[in-house]
């Protein structure tokens, strides 16, 4: 610790702190542009110049390291003169077009110019004009306004992991740009909008929609992955116009993924269901709420009466709120059905009944940054969990060793220590090899099931890395959770963590992957899980917030089951052609941002939020719809006055973290045998297709990450099949179903697999996410 004095106030700060950090501790504001606490120090804008005792020149506060006894003056004549000088230079070539600039009202340059600028510039030469750049569908540019602070550049290189932007040329001609002809394609690109202190980089979807002072703001929580990023939702006239990060160092820090930032556009999709609808005599009619609710209640009661409650199945989206999930399961149980599930993309349910508690991350999100050894198992990490990937990227830079065990080798833009890539059927055995090697290194006894295994070099490398750490974590990704031997992978991860004395857990797939368990939205004794109630079709279904053909592990089978059902009641913010085909009643419910509710994130943190906008049309919050349905069905315990009431009943006193989290599993003897003859499917859920809302966000759908699915194979596979990249291929499953896709080279895939994305209309017909496929030239 060193003691320094800033403007006469003394304080103690850590060795190696900068003057600006020290000032911030005191609450002293030092003007700055290029400095950002999460980025490397550039010290190029020179706005933060301050006077330091004994220094002959003003010093940049952002780059000057404190020394014991240092005296800093942030408002002395020398400091203020220097700051004014820099401000004048910043403004001479700036267009000063605030009235027509989207940043107007929230511009750091504008704010500071008021305090530090002279009223009239002495610059009377011609101003510089910089051509705008096409950065893609999300970020709009006005490069003449750029002050060359390089924050955006440092963001792409340091946080997003790949230098997509740079500063070309030099001197006054220096220009911020992407590589010629390229756009900014990272899944985190929208953050450069927040980082840009001026109006050079602004939101394309938001462009000219409103002035900042016209917007109302509400805190909210992201409805997508299970990170639970904190949001500020901004509205005008009850329409969501913009979503920004709410800084929370424990969760999303100051970042958002593009999905979280721009999915709000889907709220005003033309697919929005704004009126209740019922199908009568094969014809869809818009009806009043009471008609629709009556119809739904009657239909469900009839099925329950005639066929028994078990004839009804509930398919609930894991992106629903705790309140919605809780009431939905209560309704179904009230009807006598234990067939309730929110784990729609899961295919292995053998852990049910054998778990020690609710599966979760097994640590705090912030703890991930403190791990010194990490193994990620089965995850398209960058796209499935962009901000967790970002955390690990930073850790790896600071010396943490990160390894991956997976069925694809996408560039995570993380400096990985080791990787083991194999076909899906081989993953359990591969992970078991790591367990075995770690046990050997640690002198622990390994599970008997592992005795016959030979440890591969890749597994050994991972084990060596893990065993050399003191704070290890094993993270199971979406792919591992969706794997047909998910329970085995979980058990092995548990053994691994135990041998290492480390932690392990799940990177939750959806906003309520943990909350769904807490809300009891899982089958009870004798109940069918999500896969079973599709495989064994029900007479009736209640679908909440999901599009089962896109959201279930086997979309084709889900669609077939729904089409066969006598009654399907869908509570949904959106309508689709598929729903119009299979449903009997469509009840318009409020999506995220139009309802209050709660998500429990992957670390078990309970986060509630209020509606930021009124529901569109006649849509109503789903908890209210479920309450009325419960009342109409004369079920007990549906008297709630508010969503808080529902939450209290669902979560009780667990207002900060849910209790009962435990990744323990007593599975019995492990089965590591792999049985896959033929070409295995490796299935990813592309980032912008993962849920109903993001699928309908137009700007995101134009982004590079939204490209149509292809059939990806490694070079050996292509040549063995007599294919070239770009060929049209027929991908088939189970003899009948097939899809026409373009073959694509993906050198990172193991042999014997074809990678085909799910959650997309083009591939629904292929059925289960894990399957054996045939591939031939079309």
């Amino acid at each position: 610790m060193v003691e320094i004095e800033i403007d006469g106030k003394t304080l103690q700060v850590e060795d190696g702190s900068t003057v600006i950090e020290a000032a911030h501790k005191l609450g002293t504001y030092i003007p700055h542009f290029c400095y950002h606490k999460k980025l490397s120090i550039a010290a190029n804008c020179r706005m933060c110049l301050v006077q330091v005792e004994k220094a002959p020149k003003p010093m940049p506060a952002c780059a000057t390291i404190v020394t014991n006894g240092m005296k800093v003056f942030t408002h002395s004549d020398l400091a203020v003169k220097a700051q004014k000088a820099v401000m004048e230079f910043l403004l001479i070539n700036h267009p000063l077009d605030c009235p027509i600039c989207d940043q107007g009202g929230e511009c750091q340059l504008q704010d500071l110019a008021v305090g530090y600028g002279e009223s009239a510039s002495k610059y009377e030469e011609e101003k510089r004009v910089v051509p705008d750049k096409d950065l893609g569908p999300l970020v709009s540019t006005d490069m003449t306004r750029c002050i060359n602070c390089t924050r955006c550049i440092r963001f792409t290189a340091e946080i997003a992991g790949f230098m997509e932007l740079g500063q070309s040329y030099r001197g006054e001609r220096a220009e911020v740009m992407p590589f010629i002809g390229k756009t900014v394609d990272t899944e985190l690109s929208g953050n450069i909008i927040d980082l840009c202190p001026v109006g050079a980089l602004t939101s394309k979807p938001f462009r000219f929609a409103a002035r900042t002072w016209e917007l109302s703001r509400r805190k909210s929580v992201s409805p997508h992955d299970a990170l639970g990023s904190n949001l500020i939702v901004q509205t005008k006239h009850d329409k969501v116009l913009r979503v920004l990060p709410l800084e929370n160092d424990e969760i999303n820090e100051c970042w958002l993924s593009d999905k979280e930032r721009f999915s709000y556009q889907g709220l005003s999709s033309s697919d929005r269901l704004t009126k209740p609808m019922v199908k009568q005599g094969g014809e869809w009619k818009e009806v009043d709420w009471n008609v629709a609710l009556d119809y739904a209640a009657h239909a469900l009661r009839d099925v329950a009466k005639t066929h028994g409650g078990a004839a009804i199945g509930g398919l609930l989206s894991p992106h629903s709120t705790v309140e919605e999930l809780y009431l939905a399961q209560k309704l179904l149980r009230g009807l006598g059905s234990e067939n309730v599930d929110f784990r729609l993309r899961q295919s292995d349910f053998s852990a049910d009944g054998k778990r020690a508690g609710i599966p979760s991350l097994g640590m705090k999100i912030a703890d991930i940054s403190g791990l010194d050894r990490v193994l990620v198992v089965g995850s398209f990490l960058r796209k499935d969990h962009p901000l967790i990937a970002q955390r690990l990227r930073q850790s790896a830079k600071k010396g943490a060793q990160v390894s991956i065990l997976h069925s694809a080798n996408d560039d995570l833009l993380i400096n990985l220590t080791a990787r083991a890539i194999a076909a899906p059927s081989q993953l359990p055995a591969l992970l078991a090899q790591v367990v075995k090697a770690v046990c050997a290194l640690k002198g622990a006894s390994a599970d008997a099931a592992l005795s016959a295994l030979a440890v591969s070099a890749e597994a050994q490398a991972i084990a060596q890395s893990l065993a050399s750490g003191s704070n290890t974590g094993v993270l199971l990704g979406n792919f591992a959770q969706q794997h047909p031997q998910a329970a085995t992978l979980q058990a092995l991860a548990g053994q691994l963590a135990k041998a290492l004395g480390g932690k392990f857990g799940f990177l939750g797939e959806a906003a309520n992957s943990v909350g769904g368990y807490a809300a009891k939205a899982v089958p009870g004794a004798g109940g069918l899980n999500a896969a079973a109630m599709i495989k064994d079709p029900r007479q009736a279904y209640v679908v909440l917030g999901a599009e089962p053909e896109l959201d279930c592990a086997d979309g084709a089978q889900a669609l077939a089951a729904l089409q066969k059902s006598a009654v399907t009641v869908v509570l949904t913010p959106f309508k689709s052609q598929a729903m119009l085909d299979y449903a009997a009643v469509l009840l318009p419910v409020a999506p995220f941002a139009e309802t209050s509710g709660t998500f429990v994130n992957t670390e078990g943190r309970v986060q509630s939020f209020y509606a930021a906008a009124k529901s569109l049309g006649d849509a109503r919050p789903a908890w209210k719809v479920l309450r009325v349905l419960g009342n109409l069905l004369a079920l007990n315990g549906f008297e709630f006055n508010s969503s808080e009431d529902v939450r209290s009943e669902a979560l009780g006193s667990q207002t900060e973290f849910v209790s009962g989290l435990d990744n323990g599993l007593s599975l019995g003897a492990l089965n590591l045998s792999a049985s896959a003859a033929g070409i295995e499917r490796v299935t990813d859920v592309p980032i912008h297709f993962a849920d109903a809302l993001v699928r309908r966000a137009p700007a995101l759908q134009r982004a590079a990450d939204s490209a149509a699915p292809t059939a990806r194979m490694n070079a050996a596979m292509l040549s063995r099949l007599g294919l070239a990249a770009g060929d049209l291929v027929k991908v088939g499953a189970g003899g009948t179903a097939n899809a026409s896709l373009v073959a694509q080279l993906d050198a990172g895939l193991p042999d014997g697999v074809v990678r085909v994305a799910a959650a997309h209309a083009a591939t629904v017909a292929l059925g289960p996410m894990s399957a054996v496929l045939s591939v031939e030239k079309a």
């Binding site: 010290a43 000088a85 820099v86 030469e125 001197g171 006054e172």
Partner: protein, 443 residues
């Protein structure tokens, strides 16, 4: 053309045969690599070696004049990986000594660098060579091959157990890479944008490792200092200004070129060695230390001796020893316009005051030169330079400001004349003939 004249040849002893005397055997015949051999064979201690350099009061020849021995002593002893880097990015207008040193005696630079590597404990070095002198870069590569083949470079040099290798890295057209941290960035394969200091290169240099960086002439002097002893070297010059120095004399003299003279030689003597003023015309002004140094009026410099202290006292800097001589045919506004254009063109673009200010300065001077000056422009120029100086990461902003301030200071009336009359004080035809490009009377 190489050396024009010398009073006390040291660095330039090998230049006599011009392009024919640069190779290893010529250098060895002149006693080259003897000092390296002596250092290694006697197992001279690093401290003794640095002490000898300190004694010589050799001051860095790249411009700042920082004592070389002191700089070497800043290198952390324990660090496992360290570098020495030579700055042959000679881009300061008026400076052309390092190119000739590298052309005519590259092995003196190599020997100096190896000895420096030994002194600071580095096992590798790089010589960063100005992009525009590619032929010199190629020759240096050849010289390195010769030295490597003879066992002066590589593993276990001359059986001493000391290993050191040296590589050439060429620039490709950026003045800013002469700034030592811009140079390091450039070797790392990036834009040559200088780094904020501290940390200084001695702690955080090339690839983040402790690095000693010196000018070509500084390294070349090392074998000679060891040969004659630090004290004898110091005594060649004057106190606090040890040794001889190469001066590059350009502009309106009869014999432009490089001159090696002892520190403290009168300017008038140097001018005489350069053949006096072209066409016998009157000396108007001299920039004594490269284009970044403040200009001095002819009568002021005529009273100076050529060393750091005397030139500083007169209000300028000895800098890199580039003496730009201007006679009465020069329009000072036009001369400044060209220099301001240079800094505008060469600003690296990272710091706001330099990026924006260098263009502002150029445009205003350009306006004045083109008859669009305003009475308030001189105050404006002074204010803008004031706002630039001392507010940037490196000294390029100051380098852009110094000429503007000094030209206005010493030749204010000429600027005022220009603004008032919208034309040069010096007749354009007189200016035209001053360059000597046209034969008298030709169109």
């Amino acid at each position: 053309m190489a050396l024009i004249d010398t009073i006390n040849p040291l660095l330039t002893t090998g230049w006599a045969k011009g392009d024919a005397g640069w190779s290893l055997k010529d250098y060895e015949a002149r006693g080259g690599y003897k000092q390296l051999r002596r250092v290694l064979e006697s197992k001279m201690s690093q401290d003794d070696l640095i002490a000898e350099v300190k004694k010589s009061v050799l001051r860095g020849r790249g411009g700042a004049g920082f004592p070389t021995g002191l700089k070497w002593s800043f290198m952390p002893k324990a660090a496992p990986v360290k570098y020495v880097v030579c700055n042959t990015d000679e881009g300061e207008p008026g400076t052309f000594k390092d190119r000739d040193l590298m052309r005519f005696d590259p092995h003196s630079v190599i020997e100096g660098m190896i000895i420096a590597g030994y002194a600071v404990g580095a096992k590798a070095g790089y010589n960063y060579i100005h992009g525009e002198i590619f032929e010199t870069y190629e020759r240096f590569e050849e010289a390195l091959d010769q030295a490597r083949a003879a066992g002066y470079l590589g593993d276990n040099i001359l059986g001493s157990g000391f290993s050191f290798d040296l590589f050439a890295h060429h620039g490709w057209g950026a003045y800013i890479c002469g700034e030592e941290t811009g140079l390091l960035e450039s070797i790392e394969g990036k834009k040559g944008q200088p780094r904020f200091k501290p940390p200084f290169p001695a702690n955080f240099g090339l690839y983040g490792k402790p690095t000693t960086i010196n000018n070509t002439e500084t390294f070349a002097a090392i074998p000679f200092i060891l040969g004659m002893g630090g004290e004898a070297y110091l005594n060649l010059g004057k106190p606090n200004n040890g040794g001889t120095k190469l001066f590059s004399v350009s502009g309106h003299v009869n014999r432009p070129g490089n001159f090696e003279v002892p520190m403290g030689t009168p300017f008038s003597k140097l001018l005489e060695m350069a053949g006096g003023m072209r066409g016998g015309r009157k000396l108007k002004a001299v920039i004594p230390g490269g284009s970044s140094a403040p200009v001095l009026p002819g009568d002021v410099i005529m009273d100076c001796t050529m060393d750091y202290d005397s030139i500083a006292k007169a209000g300028s800097m000895l800098g890199s020893g580039a003496v730009i001589v201007m006679d009465e045919t020069v329009c000072m506004v036009k001369a400044l316009e060209r220099l301001s254009y240079f800094y505008y063109e060469e600003s690296c673009g990272q710091c706001t005051p330099c990026r924006e200010g260098s263009g502002w300065l150029y445009r205003v001077v350009h306006r004045i030169e083109h008859g669009e000056g305003r009475p308030e422009d001189l105050d404006l120029l002074n204010r803008v330079t004031d706002n630039m100086m001392g507010k940037t990461i490196c000294a390029l902003a100051d380098a852009a400001a110094f000429p503007v301030r000094s030209f206005i200071k010493h030749f204010q009336s000429e600027f005022e004349y220009h603004i008032e009359n919208k034309k040069c004080l010096v007749d354009p035809e007189v200016q035209r003939m001053g360059s000597g490009f046209f034969k008298a009377g030709a169109a």
